[in-house]
Symmetry: C2
């Protein structure tokens, strides 16, 4: 398992750092263990495009979640460097490839350590988090031979004008639609809630149906059926009851209490909020009609993060150019580093089809032809950025204020 | 906790045996620990009426479940004996009060040990059952100072013509209807089943609603809703999903597998069987429509046991005489010793209202006026048996063949 600064992370740094150097990139491992390689642009101080994803994995993981996006960045730089060798042509921007040290949150139950450090949000509370062995983040940094005092130097180069991330879809949609690639319009906002139904445990044989029965599971089941029905009727909404506990359950006892989780996601916060309101209200009604009481707690309310429309439109055009049809646009139901980076820099994502919809599983895979399509898309995107000053200049111009603006917003929130 | 032949059972034998002796009854503890007291009839060899219930309890039990029915029997004998003192009047039948040593099945996970021994069905397999400490039933009998070789002598006296049991309702119906007593028409038949829904665990955020989602819990919830709806529409049917397990459940994972229990009870086996068939078929459909597979296993299929109609009619008349209104007739949703005795002797039951519907709980209680009503009912019933030769004679006549006939049936089954 490749967790935050686990010893095996050194091998990744060596192997991938070697590829970067071979492509003429300047390589370093920053103070939180992000692997960073820069392919210089035409001029010193040229604006900088960031391409990346994460190097860490969950337990029992597949081979592509995260690391594929880093390899994609390196491969694109190799190609640019190779063309430069031939044509002496220079790019009007530098490319920095970043392999984030941590995204999954496995070691410290706290995800996005690598990208949070990049946007300057690695605070004291995060540094003090302890892993299962009691080792803090700051100690883990020291144990790996890195220097916590250098954390400030992790921050994004101020010339960075965009972030692009390639990632496997981790879902079944592209496969179902026989499409190789999709561009991401937003990382969905997410509500997590706990709903507790409290009825009255009673003898399953001696308590008749009807008003003398206060079955917490029957109430919860009616609600779960509505969760499925309601979400199915609203485009892009997903709603899931993943856990359901019945304390002291027995086959011959009417469930007196049920505690269930609810997970609701959508690209638009208003749609998600309306969904959560409806589903909690429905649970109240389903409970009340059975003499069951409901209590609900929102445990997470995370707004949607839209991807940058200029970048997304450009990437869509590139996908269309390759596939011949309109690019599939997906909302990411899972969180990604791009969601963190978007706070400071215009960001975009491209998804690669996940055969079987599998991820976080050893059988996770990608198709070779989809990786080829993604590389073509990436190269075409780089060419457009190079050639289309009407796209590049406003991006570079806006980026100068974007980060400061968003950071101020975040501080006010 | 008063389990099978637990040391504290001696105190019950002493206390209640003392009351029996004081009423002029002949008392013994039989070889399985049943407390038995006989109040003789007018003549030696007079037919014998059995009145009883069980002395054992579950863990954290109330004070009335079982033992109240034994105390009722003793109290009725006390009254008959007291009247005899005054009037010298003799009854044309003997009364045997039995306090069964075991009904709940706590110690050996095998219920009805006391009543099974009475009908001669305490076989080698039961005697070999071990408790949590590895002590067998036969060893427990020895440890209590009883003699397993005397098991044959536990059997019902051949002159026994009827069994009557008073028991708390353990349900909320009588309280809801403001009635003190009910007569029982049957002990409900019972089906228990396990239904396993197997779908596909997947990311709750990246898997859209609809045909790409194979949510085992959504399928189970639709089915649980139907279990409640269907049973509510059929008089006397109860159906309950008491347990529901989701292996490896997580709030952000679509449940890939759900294992649920089903408990269905009704006084008529055909109604119960049709219910089980419908509910399993519905589960198949609810599963299939979500790309989920279903497997179901029937773990218990126990037929209903009707109570004797002559006894039940007579007891109903007695209840009507006390309450002034028609007697409430209930189906017992729980098993009782009367269900076992009915295999060998015409049997009947009277329920006393359970305030709050509570049982198997320290707050379990009965109302003093309901116990008075039950005693009046019992005395009236004894008077009718004494006075109405047209009722007693056929009962006594039929009982001679009933036991043998039923036993032969049981052996063929």
């Amino acid at each position: 398992m490749r967790t935050f600064l686990a010893p095996c992370m050194r091998q990744v740094h060596e192997l991938m750092g070697g590829w970067m150097r071979a492509a003429g990139m300047e390589v370093r491992v920053d103070a939180v263990g992000n692997l960073r390689g820069v392919l210089s642009g035409a001029e010193t101080g040229a604006p900088r495009l960031l391409i990346g994803s994460h190097l860490d994995t969950v337990a029992d993981a597949g081979a592509y979640d995260g690391v594929l996006g880093v390899v994609m960045g390196v491969a694109l730089c190799e190609e640019i460097a190779a063309r430069r060798q031939v044509s002496r042509e220079q790019m009007p921007f530098a490319i920095e490839v970043v392999g984030f040290s941590e995204e999954e949150g496995v070691r410290f139950a706290k995800p996005f350590l690598g990208s949070l450090a990049l946007i300057g949000e690695m605070d004291e509370a995060i540094l003090a988090c302890a892993d299962a062995n009691g080792t803090s983040v700051v100690q883990a940094i020291r144990d790996f031979g890195l220097e916590p005092s250098q954390l400030a130097a992790v921050a994004l180069d101020p010339s960075t004008f965009a972030y692009v991330e390639f990632h496997i879809e981790q879902g079944p949609v592209l496969e179902a639609e026989s499409a190789a690639l999709a561009v991401v319009d937003a990382v969905a906002g997410q509500t997590r809630a706990t709903l507790a139904f409290t009825g009255h445990a009673n003898h399953a044989g001696t308590t008749p149906m009807g008003r003398l029965r206060h079955d917490a599971l029957a109430a919860a089941a009616a609600w779960i059926t509505e969760v499925e029905r309601y979400a199915s009727g609203i485009a892009g909404l997903v709603a899931t009851v993943g856990k359901l506990d019945i304390p002291s359950a027995a086959g011959n006892v009417i469930p007196g209490r049920v505690v269930a989780t609810l997970d609701v996601r959508h690209a638009q916060d208003a749609v998600r909020a309306a969904g959560v309101d409806h589903l909690v209200a429905f649970a109240e009604t389903a409970a009340a009609s059975r003499g069951v009481t409901l209590s609900s707690t929102i445990t997470l309310d995370q707004p949607a993060v839209p991807m940058d429309s200029t970048l997304t439109r450009a990437l869509s055009d590139c996908v269309t150019g390759i596939s011949g049809g309109p690019a599939r646009v997906l909302t990411s139901g899972a969180g990604h580093d791009a969601m963190i980076l978007a706070r400071r820099v215009p960001s975009a994502m491209v998804f690669l089809r996940s055969p079987g919809g599998l991820s976080h599983h050893p059988d996770e895979t990608v198709l070779v032809e989809d990786v080829e399509a993604a590389l073509s898309c990436g190269l075409e995107f780089l060419s457009r950025l190079r050639d289309d000053k009407a796209m590049l200049d406003p991006l570079v111009h806006n980026a100068r204020t974007y980060g400061q603006h968003r950071l101020a917003e975040a501080r006010h929130a």
